[in-house]
């Protein structure tokens, strides 16, 4: 058996037996390196990769965006998002569900964490929908899918991660997520519209709200819009790098938390600890992936895969569809950060060889990853909604299926019209 095969089997076995992803990658990579280069080679590579993997300046935006999300949650402004959106669209049949999608987009605009978004929406919008007599499947499904918008709308930790791994402009990637983020939001709203069109009992109508109350609600959104505008405009105009924008965003979110009155030393330490936990989890996977990636590079495995796939007598779009399908399958069993770190170094050279744009592909991967967040058996957001509300997993999964179909249609649209993704980044300064 070749060292590559042994290392891949070892990796698969360790993952299967529940060994953490970062450990599995590091162990399998180290075993492979030892097999091909011996002890000195292994020690040399561990000594180099362990530090260099995490000292890239661009990586700073990951802890900063995560910290920003924690401070936003601490501030409580995310809770007001749903209330404001509900005042504007709540009167329409299914309006509260549509408001949940809008609140998800709003939360995504100030936080890059999908699970944090789902948890917040589950504790705010879901009880309101259930009180009004919404079908629990419709209500929980829209909450789970709306949470995933945070992965796409800037600031997105997933896109930053992709940019760092793929070594392409993080700024362009973040800006590229804006239009697809709006399209996905619209797709969720339209899906709700179609559901209630065929099943009016799933969602009741609500009473009309005076314009004064509607305009008053916009005031609540002021700080959130300011924070989102600050980050996006700074990146789009080139006024600051994504790293700088992330730090300013975190500081701005800290300011909002202090202003909200929810701030205390204990809450601050707790938010920072959660941020440290998520950051270390992601960065440790990067370290493990670098060790494994080094082994793949030395054995020329990536090169062999790229050569093989490029020579296949298939249309590039067929290969793209197979790759994206693979991402959906992986998304069903693995965490999105782990999938990105594990696959992008191998898949991206193939994508480039097939003639696709890496920025466009990054957005496609994240939209696909959104599906993974709500598809069984793992579907992290579904678990978050279920855990937060005590609703059965089956109900949430059932409610999310129409949105999965809509997401696949969005993927097709973005493939047919790549300009929807590339227009904003191609006009960046």
């Amino acid at each position: 058996m070749s060292p590559v095969l042994i290392a891949c089997l070892l990796l698969g076995g360790l993952l299967l037996f529940g060994v953490p992803v970062a450990f599995s990658l590091a162990i399998a990579g180290a075993a492979g390196l030892f097999m091909i280069g011996g002890w000195d080679s292994l020690v040399g590579i561990l000594e180099t990769t362990t530090l260099s993997s995490v000292s890239a300046y661009e990586l700073v935006s990951i802890p900063m965006f995560i910290l920003m999300a924690e401070f936003v949650i601490l501030s409580g402004i995310a809770n007001g998002l749903f209330e404001a959106a509900a005042l504007w669209v709540g009167r329409v049949r299914g309006g509260l569900a549509m408001a949940t999608a809008l609140a998800g987009a709003g939360f995504g605009a100030i936080s890059g964490s999908s699970t944090a978004s789902a948890a917040t929406l589950a504790s705010t919008s879901l009880p309101a929908m259930l009180r009004q007599g919404y079908d629990p499947r419709l209500a929980s499904g829209v909450v789970a899918i709306s949470g995933t918008l945070a992965m796409l709308i800037p600031p997105s930790v997933a896109l930053v991660l992709y940019g760092v791994i793929a070594d392409i402009s993080v700024g362009k990637l973040l800006i590229a997520g804006v239009i697809p983020g709006l399209i996905v939001t619209l797709a969720i709203v339209l899906t709700v519209y179609v559901i209630v069109l065929f099943d009016p009992k799933a969602a009741p109508t609500a009473v009309s709200v005076p314009w004064r109350a509607k305009l008053g609600a916009l005031k609540e959104l002021g700080p959130m819009l300011l924070l989102f505008g600050l980050i996006t405009v700074c990146i789009y105009t080139g006024l600051s790098t994504p790293t700088e924008a992330s730090a300013i965003g975190a500081l701005g979110a800290l300011g909002l938390a202090v202003r909200s009155g929810n701030f205390s030393a204990a809450a601050f330490v707790s938010a920072c600890s959660r941020s440290a936990r998520t950051t270390c989890m992601i960065l440790l996977i990067i370290v493990g992936a670098h060790i494994f990636g080094y082994f793949f590079t030395l054995t020329r495995t990536t090169y062999s895969i790229v050569t093989w796939v490029s020579a296949l007598p298939l249309d590039p779009f067929v290969i793209l569809a197979i790759i994206l399908f693979g991402y959906i399958v992986l998304g069903c069993v693995m965490d999105q950060a782990a999938i990105l770190i594990l696959t992008v170094p191998v898949v991206l050279p193939v994508i480039k060889a097939l003639g696709f744009d890496p920025v466009w592909f990054g957005v496609m991967v994240v939209v696909t990853a959104e599906l993974g967040m709500v598809t069984p058996p793992v579907g992290l957001n579904v678990f978050v909604v279920s855990k937060t509300t005590g609703m059965p997993l089956g109900t949430v999964f059932h409610g999310v299926w129409p949105h999965v179909v809509a997401h696949i249609l969005v993927l097709v649209l973005l493939t047919v019209v790549p300009g929807l993704v590339m227009w904003l980044p191609s006009n960046m300064q």
Binding site: L16, G18, V19, V21, L42, T50, E244, I248, L251, C280
Partner: protein, 169 residues
């Protein structure tokens, strides 16, 4: 001994948090000084990349492992009986500890060498290297110790530690 490791992990975690806040503050100051006074902090980029990012990531590693913060694909293993699942988890810890112990040892030697030789990175600013390697060695050391401690801990203790992390305390 376990209490001592726990205390060290908590200390390292607070240093990691301090590093996170420091990065936020330095970058924000850099941007303000650049646009308001045309006087950016020229040292910020290297200082953060060399020292603070290392502290942010490596120092809390032990705490994160104590809280079971490293994600795993637990879909299939959940089907197994608890003792078997636990045996796999302990085996994974031993193997991971072996790999990261090698890295920890390498960085400890590197830190000592760098300290004795006065190794520096020379550019627009001069940066001594031994503190960087020391941070990495200390962080990895605490991480390896926690991995090994968990091999011998009961399921109840492991669950208790994981729950503690869920509350971010």
């Amino acid at each position: 001994m376990v209490k001592l490791i726990r205390a060290c992990e908590n200390g390292a975690r607070y240093l990691g948090i301090a590093a996170t806040v420091t990065i936020m503050a330095i970058i924000a100051c850099d941007v303000v000084l650049r646009y308001a006074f045309n006087a950016p902090l020229a040292w910020a980029y290297e200082f953060i990349g060399l020292y603070v990012m290392a502290a942010l990531f490596f120092l809390p590693l032990g705490y994160v492992q104590r809280c079971h913060g490293n994600i795993a694909v637990d879909l299939f293993v959940k089907l197994l009986p608890v003792p078997v699942r636990s045996a796999f988890a302990r085996m994974g810890n031993v193997l991971a500890a072996s790999v990261f112990a090698i890295a920890c040892g390498a960085f400890a030697v590197k830190a000592l060498d760098a300290f004795q030789s006065g190794d520096e990175i020379i550019g627009p600013y001069i940066w001594v290297t031994w503190p960087i390697y020391t941070i990495v060695a200390v962080g990895l050391g605490l991480f390896v110790l926690r991995l090994l401690v968990q091999v011998f801990q009961s399921e109840a203790t492991l669950q208790h530690d994981a729950a503690e992390g869920d509350h971010g305390v």
